[in-house]
C-alpha cells in the first residue's frame, strides 16, 4: 500500500508538471533577450557618449527614436529567428498555438505605443517629448508581457512587472527629485531594455536538467 501511495503521488506530480509545462509559452527566448539586452546597452552607451562629447550636438528627437526603432526591429527579428530555430530543432511548427495565443494577447498593447511613436515622429519631437515616448514604450512593453501571464513562465511575468513599475516610477521621479538629467530617457532605455533583458536572459537560460519524463517512464 505504501508503495502504491508513493507511486500514485509520483504519477500525480508528473501529470501536473507535464500539463503545466505543455500550457506554457515563452514569447521571448533567452538568447534573443541576451542579444536585445546587449544591443540596447550598446545603443544607450553610444547615444550617451555622443551627448557627452562636444563634437556632435546631443542626440534628440527623430534621430533618438530612429535608433531605438532600429534596435526594436533587430531584436524582434532575432527573437523570431531563435523561436524558429527552437521549433525546427523540436520538430514543432513555428507558428504554434502558443505563438498565436501570445500574439493575440500582446497585439492590443502595442496600439498605444505605436500611436505615440507616430505622433512623436510627426510633431512630438518638436516639443522634446522623449520622456513621454520612452514612458509609453516601457509601460506598454511591460503590459504586453504581463498580458501573456496566464501561459508565460514566471520569469517573463517578472520582466513585465519590472518594465511596468519602472515606467510608473519615471514621471514620479521627475516630480519628487525635480531636475533630472536631460538624457534620462536614454538612461531609462538602457536600464530597461538593456539591463532588464540581460537579467531575464540569465534567469531564463535553458539549463541541463534531469529528464523527469525519462525517469518517470524508465523504471
Amino acid at each position: 500500500m505504501d508503495q502504491e501511495r508513493s507511486k500514485a503521488e509520483e504519477d500525480l506530480r508528473v501529470i501536473r508538471s507535464l500539463m503545466e509545462r505543455a500550457a506554457l509559452y515563452r514569447a521571448i527566448s533567452a538568447p534573443a533577450a541576451l542579444v536585445a539586452g546587449c544591443l540596447s546597452i550598446f545603443a544607450a552607451a553610444a547615444i550617451y557618449l555622443n551627448d557627452q562629447t562636444s563634437v556632435n550636438r546631443p542626440l534628440q528627437g527623430r534621430a533618438f527614436a530612429a535608433i531605438w526603432l532600429i534596435v526594436l526591429v533587430i531584436a524582434v527579428a532575432t527573437n523570431a529567428f531563435f523561436i524558429w530555430r527552437e521549433a525546427k530543432k523540436d520538430g514543432r511548427p513555428f507558428i504554434s498555438s502558443g505563438m498565436k495565443l501570445s500574439l493575440r494577447a500582446i497585439a492590443p498593447n502595442l496600439l498605444i505605443p505605436a500611436g505615440v511613436t507616430l505622433w512623436f515622429l510627426v510633431s512630438g519631437y518638436k516639443g522634446a517629448a522623449e520622456q513621454e515616448l520612452v514612458v509609453a514604450w516601457i509601460a506598454f512593453y511591460g503590459l504586453a508581457l504581463l498580458s501573456t501571464g496566464l501561459f508565460a513562465p514566471r520569469s517573463l511575468v517578472c520582466l513585465g512587472w519590472a518594465f511596468f513599475l519602472t515606467a510608473l516610477a519615471l514621471p514620479a521621479l521627475k516630480n519628487v527629485a525635480g531636475d533630472l538629467p536631460a538624457n534620462l530617457p536614454n538612461i531609462a532605455m538602457g536600464i530597461t531594455f538593456g539591463l532588464y533583458h540581460l537579467i531575464y536572459a540569465v534567469c531564463a537560460w535553458p539549463r541541463r536538467r534531469a529528464d523527469e519524463i525519462e525517469q518517470f517512464a524508465v523504471e
Binding site: R5, E9, I15, A23, D90, G91, R92, I213, A217
Partner: protein, 98 residues
C-alpha cells in the same frame, strides 16, 4: 481499502499516462510535438498511440498541410477515463494519509 481495479490498466502505463496528460492540456497535438515533448522514438510513440486509439481514448486526424501531418486529441471517452484515473490516484493518496 482502495479497489485497485478502479485503475485503468491502459492509462496506468507510464508513457501512455504522460501522453494522456499532454493531450488533456490542449485541444490537439501533432505527432512531432508529442515526440519532441516526451523525447520518445517514432516507433515507441506510434505503438502507444495505436493502443490508445484502439481503446477509443484518442482520435486521430490525418491532414496534408504542405506535408502529411497527424494530429491527436482526446475523445470524450478518453477525457472522462483520464479524469477518473486521476481521481483514483488522488483517492489512493488520500486514503493512505487519513
Amino acid at each position: 481499502m482502495f479497489d485497485f481495479q478502479k485503475l485503468d490498466k491502459i492509462i496506468h502505463e507510464k508513457w501512455r499516462l504522460a501522453i494522456m496528460a499532454l493531450l488533456a492540456s490542449r485541444r490537439s497535438w501533432s505527432f512531432q510535438e508529442l515526440k519532441a515533448e516526451l523525447k520518445m522514438s517514432d516507433g515507441n510513440l506510434i505503438t502507444h498511440m495505436r493502443t490508445l486509439h484502439k481503446q477509443g481514448l484518442v482520435s486521430v486526424t490525418k491532414e496534408f498541410r504542405g506535408r502529411p501531418q497527424t494530429t491527436y486529441a482526446l475523445t470524450a471517452k478518453g477525457r472522462s477515463a483520464f479524469r477518473e484515473h486521476i481521481n483514483a490516484l488522488e483517492e489512493i493518496v488520500k486514503e493512505w494519509k487519513s
